[in-house]
Symmetry: C2
Subunit: 345 residues, 2 copies
């Protein structure tokens, strides 16, 4: 698929999903409906309609494609697309607050604009709404879908817990980092990639194959995210420069560089160990972050992470062969995976 | 039923529920399992086993009785008892953080001890766990129960949103306050009072009758809570003196007093309007809070709230007649309601 084809695919997913997502959010009691609308980029800080950047919407597109992979119309996947998008945004609202992130999608985060209480409350509401949207379908398939979504959400929360605990540890192994990212990012993408199929009545084996695709796609996605978290262009990502280094995130490039050995790896290890004891790292100059980034690259962390993204991408694509699905749908799932590993934001 | 009978009933509920609740909490990834165990009073701040006050456990007792009301063994209600207890504690963890409450059950709250991020994260995890515990039963009844729990949780969150917004408003009507408390407290008690019956295969009409009992019991419970929030003995409640006045809560006694008219009501209105513009109310002396409490009482807010608790209690008891249930179980449900309206903590 061409890049334009993938953009159109994401756009189609948004077109089918957004009205249902908006109607779901409109159920929230004031002021939570307004706060959520701000988060999704539908209104600005003053309450005026906005043409905001609501995110890439990879998950809705995956959910709709997964319904089609199971031979159902894309529309069957809509409640699943909306539910995974709600869970994803619940986690963004809470994670931004826990991590102290002030910017997302080029705008101030909800806790910065509306305060911590609203970020907590609206996150909770979106999480509850996700289950409500699925369960009100009232079918056995919706029950199965809710169970898979619940499992994914629990793993997502476990992953966030590990991510936070890693920030307080001096060393984290590459395997621990991959496990954490599998929970934090892989689990929900796995769910998004199979939930439409589950709603469409797919067998457990087919749903599992799609989950496997989504899980490894999630790990590829996260590897790219980790690269962008250090070397991404703030104009594209909407985050600060050296965003992950500022937060001392033990992301893949960092742990791979520390594991690699050699002079750059050792120098990096000494610097980061000193940083961990220094409460002033937030006030570091651009040059100090640039030095750390250069050492990570010199130790091979950047290259290893790029290769890991390609490995996870290949595993994801291979999983699609475990399921019998229309060729046109498989091509689109491959196209989405291509998009995920070449994106710049 | 005697008071001792009710204590034994609550204790039986705890005995059946706690091992399953503990096993559920043990599924959480570290350090969330530890943080949750601290919250439930199973360990102290140093991680040592504690004989903590885990709360009154009214909800588990109700869930088990509701299974029996539907003719099922109490054990059928256990997943429902655990799930409602998990949702209740999810809301406590988040509400304590949002409200800035430093004490619960005579101990420092989780956000005070383990920090805001853990309070958010463990709350999220308990919420997800509640759905997991129910849905893994894999039955149609469990699907129905999860749907009712989800609806109750959404209403609970709406109620908390309204409660927060009331603190920023000068006047709130008695009806608005009752609506808010119906969502914040009534909805989950309604769910606890019917979830065991739903798991036991009760008809929708029977489940609705039990919900009606639980909803009005919840409003009676909250009316008593509002009285304790102003006039409760800190040694019993485990909260600060004048706890709700410190937080400027527009609780029932306050709104009823403001609505009553007359000299004390007007004087109270002037004082609270001035307080709302004064950032220093947190530093008020005991005497200043005592003056406000005396005006609320003089204006009739205390008496009205006591009567409202009795009215809601009577409506709750009347709802039990809408369902055909064993006399012994009905007696226990009445006994629990008696306990709720005479408690001192």
């Amino acid at each position: 698929m061409t890049a334009a084809g993938v953009i159109a695919l994401l756009e189609d997913g948004r077109t089918l999903t957004t009205p249902v997502l908006r109607a779901a959010v409109a159920r929230l009691a004031p002021p939570m409906d307004t706060v959520a609308s701000y988060h999704f980029g539908w209104i600005d800080q003053t309450g005026q309609p906005a043409e905001g950047d609501g995110g890439k919407a990879v998950r809705p597109a995956l959910a709709l494609l997964s319904a089609q992979a199971a031979g159902a119309p894309a529309e069957v996947g809509i409640p699943g697309a909306v539910a995974t998008e709600l869970v994803h945004n619940f986690s963004l609202l809470h994670d931004d607050l826990m991590d102290g992130d002030e910017q997302r999608r080029h705008r101030d985060t909800v806790w910065k604009v509306h305060g911590p209480a609203q970020a907590i409350l609206v996150g909770d509401a979106l999480f509850a709404l996700a289950n409500e949207i699925l369960l009100e379908q009232g079918t056995a398939e919706a029950g199965r879908a809710t169970r898979r979504l619940t499992t994914a959400t629990r793993r997502l929360i476990d992953g966030q817990a590990e991510d936070i605990s890693f920030e307080h540890r001096e060393r984290v192994s590459v395997q621990e980092c991959l496990d954490m990212e599998g929970k934090k990012t892989g689990a929900l993408l796995a769910c998004a990639s199979s939930i439409g199929a589950v709603l469409g009545g797919a067998s457990e084996a087919d749903a599992d194959a799609l989950e496997e695709y989504g899980y490894h796609l999630g790990l590829a996605f996260q590897a790219i995210d980790d690269l962008l978290g250090i070397w991404g262009d703030p104009a594209s990502t909407g985050k600060q420069t050296w965003s992950d280094l500022r937060q001392r995130k033990k992301s893949l490039p960092v742990v791979a560089a520390l594991d690699a050995g050699g002079p750059a790896s050792e120098r990096l290890g000494e610097l980061l160990a000193a940083d961990a004891k220094n409460p002033e790292t937030g006030a570091f100059s651009e040059e100090e972050f640039a030095l750390r980034a250069a050492l990570i690259e010199e130790a091979g962390g950047r290259e290893w992470t790029s290769e890991e993204a390609r490995r996870q991408y290949a595993t994801a694509i291979a999983a699609l062969d475990k399921m019998d699905m229309p060729e046109g749908i498989k091509r689109k799932l491959v196209g989405l995976a291509d998009f995920v590993v070449v994106r710049e934001k």
